[in-house]
Symmetry: C2
């Protein structure tokens, strides 16, 4: 019996350590890029030994793809929570959805992901993992955008309009990498929300 | 007299070497990223000695910002040439302009620039140079987009619509980094061109 009751807290501790390492990895990648994100740097930041980090993640590739996947899932969950508080319909909702999608692409998760994507373009060992991670996150982001916008993808052009919105959000994230682009970004978001609203729902829209 | 006549070919040779180094630098950065783009790798690719490369560009930072600036200028010149062949007006012209802007963001220049931008986010020594280079290229790309679209920026919202187009182009470039995204991209470009056309020129557009 003792062995059984002891196991649960030990598993909890192990899970908590794993989470701490994952979060440290994303923060490290966002701030210092791939070259500054060694296993040693991440372990130090998480306050665990290198051995403990390696026990959870034998390779750097495993650590970083797991880290982005973990934070992306956290983000998707947070987005679902926040969606309940959005305006129910109309232009205010369209603006709120676009604003939320763009905000996600300008935070530390996107920054970390960007470093991982760009590194994967040069590192064979990383590429297949990151490619499948990217497509998984991309599909889910698209699905959520469609749901939040109440977009009807059976109407010709609607799918591409939603994709264009996510592509623009990604481009805005890139524009924010070296400079604080928030003032310009706010104007672009406002403008795009109006165009999107007219395109998806307006009588004048090209979509339906 | 001999000294004078000798100088011109020598300057030509020097200029040709400089160009070869710049082009090798961009190709190297696009294919192998920052970590694979040492001065030695670039010199070897350009077929010049390391010493010759260093004579032209004392530091790696100088070499790569000069390389991106050079290729960006070449690109801007090529775009101006191609613009003469675009359809004169109407939806075909809007599509051709969007298609051209997006094509630029999915080629080797964008790929090289992306590596430089992301590296600059972690490397202090690179950041101020790359930031000013980015804003210079960005301004010029915007100016050309406005000119080619015949967009009237005195109309509220038009400036942001053009910016959104360039942000989307940048996001499409990023989406193309790890996978061949060309089929999806072609559909998004077609769709975006229609929306842009309706917004900028259509009676139904939100712009005017």
């Amino acid at each position: 019996m003792d062995a059984v009751t002891d196991r649960a807290p030990k598993q909890d501790r192990s899970r908590a350590t794993r989470l701490r390492i994952l979060e440290a990895a994303v923060a490290c990648l966002a701030e210092r890029g791939w070259s500054g994100s060694t296993l040693a740097a991440v372990s130090a930041r998480a306050g665990v030994s290198r051995g403990a980090a390696q026990h959870h993640f034998p390779t750097r590739e495993e650590l970083f793809t797991a880290a982005i996947a973990h934070v992306a899932e956290q983000w998707l969950a947070a987005v679902r929570d926040r969606a309940a508080a959005l305006p129910r319909e109309g232009p205010d909702r369209t603006f709120a959805v676009v604003d939320m999608l763009v905000a996600v692409h300008t935070g530390p998760l996107f920054r970390a992901a960007l470093h991982l994507w760009v590194t994967a373009a040069e590192e064979e060992a990383l590429r297949p993992r990151v490619r499948s991670l990217e497509s998984r996150i991309g599909r889910e982001a698209h699905r959520l955008a469609v749901e939040f916008l109440g977009a009807d993808e059976s109407v010709p052009g609607v799918r591409e309009t939603v994709q264009a919105t996510l592509d623009m959000a990604r481009g805005l994230g890139l524009a924010n990498l070296l400079t604080d682009d928030s003032a310009r970004r706010a104007r672009v978001v406002r403008r795009w929300a109006r165009i999107l609203d007219a395109t998806l729902y307006g009588a004048q829209g090209g979509g339906h």
